[in-house]
């Protein structure tokens, strides 16, 4: 199982906060997960789109494996 979480504008555009996906039998990258959850709406998402895997900053080319939590969100504005 892979958990997908979306924040801020990504959450608003995809209309979804948390989603779980079955593990894949073939190796997957963050970009593959994005294709599954965003589909055609990928082009509506903020650029750059930030990715985190297991609560660490990652990128769209980072590998994702069973049990991982992957998150998509826009650039951050804390502080």
């Amino acid at each position: 199982m892979i958990t997908v979480r979306c924040f801020a504008t990504v959450r608003e555009i995809l209309g979804c906060e948390t989603r779980t996906l079955p593990p894949s039998s073939t190796p997957q990258l963050a970009s593959d997960i994005l294709r599954i959850v965003a589909g055609a709406r990928t082009t509506d998402l903020p650029k750059p789109l930030l990715v985190a895997i297991n609560c660490e900053h990652a990128s769209l080319t980072s590998p994702v494996k069973d049990g991982d939590e992957i998150a998509f969100f826009p650039p951050v504005s804390g502080g």
Binding site: F7, T9, E56, H57, A71, P74, P75, V76, G78, G79
Partner: protein, 142 residues
């Protein structure tokens, strides 16, 4: 190192006093507050969303890195989330060091990293409507 994420306000001095840091000659604090205007729009409030588990992990990484690099004796980070009115406190970063140079550099390093790496997002609420504040991308991912 103390890291707290909360909706409630905090008293910067009381929080600092609660940590009895031995050997510190210098303490530097940063307090960020909600401004009342942004690009000439009047800001009534800020809505802060965050990714709790990652925020906690990222702030711990940021704090530990600064502690090592700048020889800090102690680090305190408090960040609020939820809806905040203008002029309310958002964030407190306080660091202790034997000397002032490390304290200034360490506090600034944490605040800078927090603003580019910690997963917080702000929406400004003004009479004209709500607008997401443009964000920042971590240096190593640009």
């Amino acid at each position: 190192m103390i890291i707290r994420l909360q909706t409630a306000d905090f008293d910067p001095e009381r929080e600092a006093q609660a940590l009895d840091v031995k050997g510190a000659g210098a303490r530097v604090s940063f307090v960020g507050t909600v401004r009342d205007t942004a690009q000439d729009r009047r800001i009534e409030a800020l809505e802060i969303e965050h990714y709790p588990e990652m925020t906690r992990a990222e702030l711990a990484r940021i704090g530990t890195a600064a502690q090592t690099t700048h020889d800090l004796l102690e680090v305190l980070i408090i960040h609020r989330y939820g809806r905040l009115q203008s002029h309310e406190r958002i964030v407190l970063v306080t660091v202790w060091s034997a000397h002032r140079a490390g304290a200034f550099a360490g506090c600034q390093a944490i605040v800078d990293a927090l603003k580019t790496r910690a997963p917080f997002w702000k929406k400004e609420i003004s009479p004209e409507g709500a607008v997401w504040v443009p964000g920042q991308t971590p240096q190593d991912l640009r």
